[in-house]
Amino acid sequence: MTDAAAPAAPRRIRMTVIGPILALVLLVIAGALMNPNFLGWDNVTNVLARSAFIGIIAVGMTFVITAGGLDLSVGSMAAFIAGLMILVMNSLVPSMGVGVPVILVGMAVALLAGLAAGMLNGILITRLGIEAFIVTLGSMGIYRSLVTWLADGGTLSLDFGLRSLYQPVYYGGIFGITWPIIVFAVVVVIGEIVMRSTAFGRYCAAIGSNEQVAKYSSVRVDRVRLMTYAALGLLVGIATIMYVPRLGSASSATGMLWELEAIAAVIIGGTVLKGGFGRVWGTVIGVLILTLIGNLLNLTDFVSPYLNGAIQGAIIVLAVVLQREGKAR
């Protein structure tokens, strides 16, 4: 209780700051030693592009978790949006022909559907006061089932003409950097600024650390909460826009377990699962760590790639243990 004894704030979080960076650096060094192609341009862009979908979603997830929430539905939401987008675009081909306008309409549908789905989660959570876990567990099942129904149990495929027109959104780019990487980078930069330097970011952290205090401080708790889910939904829409041209199809298996990877990336990055503290750049590191592990196992025959999940799981647990040490007082 003595003032002079109060330890300064920055010292407390040091280990959790260094931890993820250290892990990433170690992984990169290990990778470079094991396979000379690891740091090659092709592999680096490959890793980044693969990280982009989960990464874009995980940035939104960072805000949701920081504000004390959770969203389990993002994976099936992505599948549903992908299915919906493909259906809408295919149905427009007869009237509008194969062309850029159809793809733009498809993109708009994806963004709107994402926003609507996110807001629906948010409204159920804030207005009806149902636990985020329950609401999003429910919507996870609903969207997964809807996409299966839309695809009639099989696969929804994008019109062949549209597919080749749309493909550059995934495979193309500028200066050898593909669009998913560019979009990912833009989302990260904006996310980092919003988290760090805007009232919205500050409110998210305040609500996550103590909702009562936020309420008593005249913060519009419900609105901020709702906005985190809406933003996440929108980002799921963006991720889906980047994902659909990769395969040109959607099925009930699309986006499987994305929610867990996104949540894992957020936690590995040092955001506190209970809320109250979040950092977007940490999430990026978390995503890269998860992707790199898979990539390394594929490039080397040191450990079977089938053990990918086990290693990722171990790292998640380790990250939480480190987080707790950092918080010990």
Partner: protein, 495 residues
């Protein structure tokens, strides 16, 4: 003959020494009061005595022999119990389960519920506490929780009982029960050490007295040698002038008119008016619905009724609507509703008025300047980069005040402005409250301390069972307030 003592104990946190050569001795069958301002080192002293923290240097003596407790469990095994300021109860368990937690009575492999029930009843009866052993602790009032804590300590064969501000959350009647229990323990030969900011209690019950200031013992001896005035002077280290500032009030325009305000389950048909420049006191027992009524008024709970703010009818369903009208509520519960304990001073200070710093991006430079200003204006002491949870209670209260004032409210409801803070800080708060009134703001002060209400307020409303039972002038006596609060006399209705 001493049972537990500290000899020349110092304690450092990092490079900073917070206790300097403290000597204190507890004797069996004596009540020892430890008093001092917030941050004087009382809690640290108690924690060292009860094995929560080791001393950096010096000795803990038990029955004259140096001991070092490995942990609090080791101290408990020696019959030394501590009751903390913050409750140490499992909120989701029942009263009985809490009292026996970790010491369950068993018959074979099974819990002996009959025996535990009987023992719980007996303990609660001794404490004159009418709570059912089946009640879940989270549903209890603060004072009942305190009684459960004490029952827990009584269950053990306690030679030394250490209590950190046991009466801070208790009403007058509950305090009387607690003090009776303390006397009973004293008769039984227990050594009792307690802290309190209520000097009348100290004068009433303490046999021995130790006064600390800035980590040092500045006075120790027989309590009967000191009166309240001398204690206050020794704690603060200077002559205390009058605790309450002069009331210079010139009521201005009507700021707030409330009629038929009801908060379901807590209060009914509350009505009053409040003018600029006025301090309105709200007295009543804990549980009389004071807090809930004003939380309802400020949109923090569902409420019905007619409210006019500066003459305009107002509909307030959310706290941010109240704030937009210039009405703010300053909570009594700074630790769970007032401040983000895990965040720094700056984030806490600006949270309530963050839009003032919002230029698309937050202007952290302006925030830092606001913090400088608040530290100067409100005399907040403590490391600038500290986490708010590590500040002393008084400094937390000042920060909470500064935070609310940053939103520049014209009507301020202050709930328990000085709970658990020392007398020097109290005086600062009183001066501040009167100054805000003099600036033309309208102020409501809710307080359980009658002297505080009488000393501060221009008018006093007394509440009982969720209704206003009377209104008194600035010349009210404690006796008149107690009568209204207990329902002995009602002034508004004819007898």
């Amino acid at each position: 003959m001493t049972v537990l003592a500290l000899r020349d104990v110092s304690r450092s946190f990092g490079p900073i020494e917070v206790l300097h050569g403290v000597d204190i001795a507890l004797r069996p069958g004596r009540v020892h009061a430890l008093i001092g301002e917030n941050g004087a080192g009382k809690s640290t002293t108690m924690k060292i005595m009860t094995g929560y923290q080791p001393p950096s240097s010096g000795q803990v003596l038990l029955d004259g022999q140096p001991v070092s407790f490995a942990n609090m469990g080791a101290a408990e095994d020696q019959g030394i119990s501590m009751i903390h300021q913050e409750f140490n109860l499992a909120e989701q368990l029942t009263v009985e389960q809490n009292i026996f937690l970790g010491r369950e009575l068993k018959r074979g492999p099974f819990l002996d519920k009959t025996a535990m029930r009987a023992r719980t009843r007996e303990l609660l009866d001794r404490l004159e506490c009418r709570v059912s052993p089946d009640r879940v602790v989270s549903t209890l009032s603060n004072s009942d929780k305190q009684m459960v804590e004490i029952a827990k300590a009584l269950l053990r064969e306690t030679r030394v009982l250490v209590m950190d501000e046991p009466t801070a959350v208790l009403t007058r009647a509950e305090t009387a029960i607690l003090l009776r229990q303390v006397r009973a323990l004293r008769e039984a030969g227990t050594a009792v050490l307690f802290t309190s900011h209520k000097l009348d209690e100290v004068e009433e019950i303490a046999d021995d007295l130790t006064i600390m200031r800035d980590g040092r013992v500045v006075w120790t001896g027989e309590a009967s040698l000191m009166n309240q005035h001398a204690m206050a002077n020794a704690m603060v280290g200077r002559e205390m002038s009058d605790l309450f500032p002069a009331k210079v009030s010139a009521p201005g325009e009507v700021a707030l008119e409330v009629a038929n305000l009801s908060v379901p389950g807590f209060s009914r048909d509350v009505g009053f008016t409040l003018c600029r420049g006025e301090v309105l006191g709200v007295a009543g027992l804990i549980g009389s619905g004071r807090t809930e009524t004003f939380e309802g008024l400020c949109g923090l709970r569902p409420a019905t009724g007619e409210v006019r703010v500066f003459g305009q009818p107002a509909r307030i369903d959310h706290p941010w609507q109240a704030q937009a009208l210039g009405l703010c509520y300053l909570t009594e519960d700074r630790k769970t509703r007032g401040l983000l304990l895990g965040k720094g001073l700056r984030e806490n200070l600006t949270l309530q008025a963050l839009s003032r710093f919002d230029r698309g991006l937050l202007d952290t430079g302006a925030e830092e300047r606001a913090l400088d200003q608040a530290i100067a204006d409100f005399d907040i002491r403590g490391h600038r980069d500290a986490l708010v949870g590590n500040l002393s209670g008084g400094n937390q209260q000042k920060l909470l005040f500064a935070k609310t004032m940053l939103a520049d409210p014209q009507i301020i409801v202050i709930d328990e402005p000085t709970r658990g803070i020392d007398i020097g800080t109290k005086q600062q708060m009183y001066v501040l409250i009167r100054r805000l009134a003099a600036e033309g703001r309208a102020i409501v002060v809710i307080s359980s301390e009658m002297q505080e209400v009488i000393g501060l307020a221009d008018r006093i409303l007394v509440m009982r069972h969720g209704r206003i039972t009377g209104e008194l002038g600035a010349d009210a006596t404690e006796d008149a307030i107690v009568k209204l609060a207990m329902g002995v006399a009602t002034e508004r209705e004819p007898a």
